[in-house]
């Protein structure tokens, strides 16, 4: 009798939470696995756009759907309600896109949703669509062979390995916003693809008409202040950011030598150290930023000769100057916006914790008055090109 009651109780425990599962139990094949999620601002609400991967959707191509509602959950319900799918499985969401307008209105609600949701990971990468909406990006990117999820996988791998950039995830953006009042977020632009459109991607194309496939490309960083997008850092200037946040990836940089000839260097490593300068009264007056960079020569023109020490030295100096310019531009942007999106305040605090604590205003407010001194030490380790040209 006792065992019988125990078994009944154990089964009721197992089944007790399953009102949400056994009443809508689905096989794996019946789930639409969502890999990309997008948020756009609408007056009084939000537009949520979802996209599956190619593998989940099958041979027809990625499945994309959208819903609108006063809240994210309401938009999700609408998308689910009005779709053909049995169940939307969002736990595999690998990327979140936020339209530019939504980012300018404020990202706090979206970041909160991601961090509090039991279905999303807090370390999901977040991207801002520069000059566009998440809806257009998700609905229009790719073709029948490549959906937006596949494109974003490629973008993520590109950013992780090279591109001089860094992927900012929801938890990190939230934390930086809470700690520094400002944060960075990767930006993408919705633009024409470098690949010609395939026939299969243009099923409705009228004969004689041409159109191009569209894709998402890396477009630098978005600067967030108080969880709102305020400005951008272009892709070319992203190298400066990577040095200042000590996350230098492989990236290319084009220089001109003394004769005005183009040389392409590949930066392979480096970092920075920030030392604050304090006045006698304990006020922060400036920052000394020491950069170290390692590079290799990727491409050079006819007359360049790396065996000459003077030429190599000149090239190194040009690299140092260029890096100093890039870093200086980013610092000036940070000072102008009074936004510590580079977390320089943390580095100052690490260096001088007691003086930092006694500052009479916040680090962001002190930024515009700071004097930046940048010293760069670069080295060329080797060349991937020939030592001398063929001519």
């Amino acid at each position: 009798m006792r065992k019988c009651i125990l078994y009944i109780t154990v089964f009721s425990l197992i089944l007790s939470g399953c009102g949400s599962i056994y009443s809508n139990y689905r096989e794996v094949e019946q789930l639409l696995v969502i890999e990309t999620m997008g948020f756009d601002y609408l007056p009084g609400g939000v537009q949520l756009t979802l996209a599956s991967g190619i593998s989940s959707a099958g041979i027809k191509g990625p499945i994309r759907l959208s819903g609108v509602g006063p809240t994210i959950s309401a938009a999700m319900d609408q998308a689910r309600n009005y779709s053909f799918e049995d169940e939307l499985f969002c736990s595999q969401t690998n990327s979140v896109l936020i339209g530019e307008k939504a980012a300018r209105e404020g990202m706090e609600a979206y970041l909160s949703y991601i961090c509090q949701s039991p279905i999303l990971r807090t370390d999901v990468p977040v991207f801002i669509i520069r000059g566009g909406s998440a809806f257009d990006s998700i609905m229009g990117s790719g073709d029948s062979q490549h959906g937006v999820s596949e494109i974003l996988k490629g973008v993520t791998e590109y950013l992780e390995t090279r591109g001089g950039s860094h992927i900012f995830k929801a938890a990190q953006i939230s934390r930086d916003s809470l700690r520094h009042g400002s944060a960075l977020c990767c930006a993408l632009e919705y633009s024409e693809s470098a690949e010609p459109p395939t026939e299969s991607s243009q099923p409705d194309q009228i004969e004689g008409e041409t159109s191009s496939a569209r894709t998402l490309a890396v477009a630098g960083f978005g600067i967030l202040k108080d969880n709102r997008l305020v400005d951008y850092i272009d892709k070319d200037a992203a190298v400066g950011v990577s040095f200042l946040i000590n996350n230098v990836g492989i990236s290319s940089i084009q220089l001109e030598d003394s004769m005005g000839r183009s040389i392409v260097l590949e930066i392979s490593g480096g970092g920075s150290q920030v030392k604050p300068r304090w006045s006698e009264k304990g006020e922060l007056t400036g920052l000394d930023i020491a950069l170290e960079a390692k590079a290799t020569v990727m491409e050079m023109n006819d007359d360049a000769d790396l065996s000459r020490e003077s030429y190599t030295k000149q090239l190194t100096q040009a690299l140092e100057l260029r890096l100093a310019q890039l870093v200086g531009d980013v610092l000036r942007q940070s000072a102008k916006l009074e936004a510590d999106f580079l977390a320089l305040g943390s580095q100052v605090e690490q260096h001088s914790p007691l003086l930092f604590r006694h500052m009479n205003k916040s680090f962001s407010e002190a930024l515009p008055a700071l004097d930046f001194h940048i010293a760069v030490k670069a080295s060329l380790s080797h060349t991937n090109d020939m030592k001398e040209s063929l001519t």
Partner: protein, 373 residues
């Protein structure tokens, strides 16, 4: 009296009991009070916890054959006051068990079953706890001994993989200004450690003869605090104290982010399910301790003698009342998030600390002064 288990078998019960409130209270609580230095709060609790272990060992040296803390309380304070204090403790343990029913149900709902009702989880777990309370103490102790390695293995695995997510700037720098917050934050770890130990010693079936009680309890305290320190460091190091205070379940958010060998991910449902065992042990122990206290108040022997399930003799009807009371508390208390937060962060830890650091020492002092123990 024939004892059914010894201290070595009892301490796993304290460890499993410790895990559930530790995960609930310590990361968010210490982050809120100590900020970036929250990870230092836990080691700061060690001196006070060791002092408490010394007090408990001195108190238990006064026990006679077959006595636990409940019997010692009755003997120290005498008939009326002893019964009054035991009745109050019995009510508190029942309420604590009911709160844990609610807290555990909310944890399952927020992490795994977002569309479910808490009541079914509360009632199911309440019934299981009742069955455990109707049985022998040694069954509960042995269950904890079986559950402990599984839960600890999962915890160590998760914390090991989570080390790669720790960032230095989330933990450092530390300044002297964080001291006050750290000391306040250490109370969370201290409270959880104290309640885990004294709840276990409300049972009375353990053999202590020949045990170096203070040494064993001290080693236990060091090991659980070391584990808690590791847990806190991983969570604060991964999320930062600002985000940790805003996450409702920071440990399970950490588990949600983990990827094992680039293949296995999203295992938080399994980890949450494993914590059901810790909840079961905690709730069962609360019911055991509550019914034990109430039966002593009624002048009955609280020892299990192989009675059948529906045998209400020797005051066993009290066990059913305690179980029903705990389920009612779980269903009716803290139904709103703000109320749950208040109970979780302030009322429960506060009262547990009062019992541990004021009531029990007062009982001991009175008993020693009046030469009753």
């Amino acid at each position: 009296m024939k004892y059914s288990y010894n201290l070595r078998q009892l301490l796993p019960l304290a460890t499993v009991f410790f895990l559930s409130p530790a995960l609930r209270l310590v990361p968010s609580g210490t982050a809120e009070l100590a900020g970036r230095a929250a990870w230092v709060s836990v080691p700061l609790a060690l001196p006070m916890l060791l002092l408490y272990m010394y007090f408990i060992s001195r108190f238990l040296k006064r026990r006679q054959d077959g006595e636990g803390l409940a019997e010692l309380t009755l003997r120290s304070l005498g008939g009326f006051w002893g019964r009054l204090v035991l009745a109050a403790l019995g009510f508190w343990f029942m309420i604590y068990g009911g709160f844990m029913l609610r807290s555990g149900a909310v944890r399952i709902i927020t992490t795994i079953y977002p569309n479910s009702s808490a009541a079914l989880f509360i009632i199911s777990m309440g019934i299981l706890g009742l069955f455990a309370a109707l049985g022998a103490e040694r069954t509960l102790v042995r269950s904890a001994k079986i559950i402990k390695p599984a839960v600890l293995a999962v915890l160590v695995l998760v914390l090991s993989f989570a080390l790669v997510t720790v960032r230095k700037d989330n933990l450092l720098p530390l300044t002297v200004f964080e001291c006050e917050g750290c000391i306040k934050g250490s109370l969370a770890a201290l409270g959880v450690g104290c309640v885990s130990v004294y709840m276990c010693f409300f049972l009375n079936g353990y053999e202590l003869e020949g045990e170096r009680l203070f040494l064993r309890l001290s080693l236990w305290a060091v090991s659980v605090l070391a584990l808690l320190f590791w847990l806190n460091t991983d969570i604060i190091g991964a999320f930062g104290h600002e985000l940790t205070t805003r996450l409702s379940q920071p440990f399970f958010a950490l588990v949600r982010n983990l990827v094992f060998f680039r293949s296995l991910e999203r295992v938080e449902a399994l980890v949450v399910s494993l914590w059901i065992f810790s909840d079961f042990i905690l709730i069962s122990l609360c019911l055991h301790a509550a019914q034990h206290a109430f039966r002593l108040v009624l002048g009955r022997q609280a020892e299990y003698k192989g009675e059948k399930l529906f045998d209400f003799s020797h005051g066993r009807w009290v066990i059913w009342l305690c179980g029903t009371g705990a389920v009612l508390v779980g269903c009716l208390f803290a139904r709103e998030p703000e109320s749950l937060e208040l109970w979780s962060r302030q009322i429960i830890p506060g009262v547990n600390l009062l019992v541990a650091l004021l009531l029990l020492p007062a009982v001991y002092i009175i008993g020693r002064v009046l030469k009753r123990i």
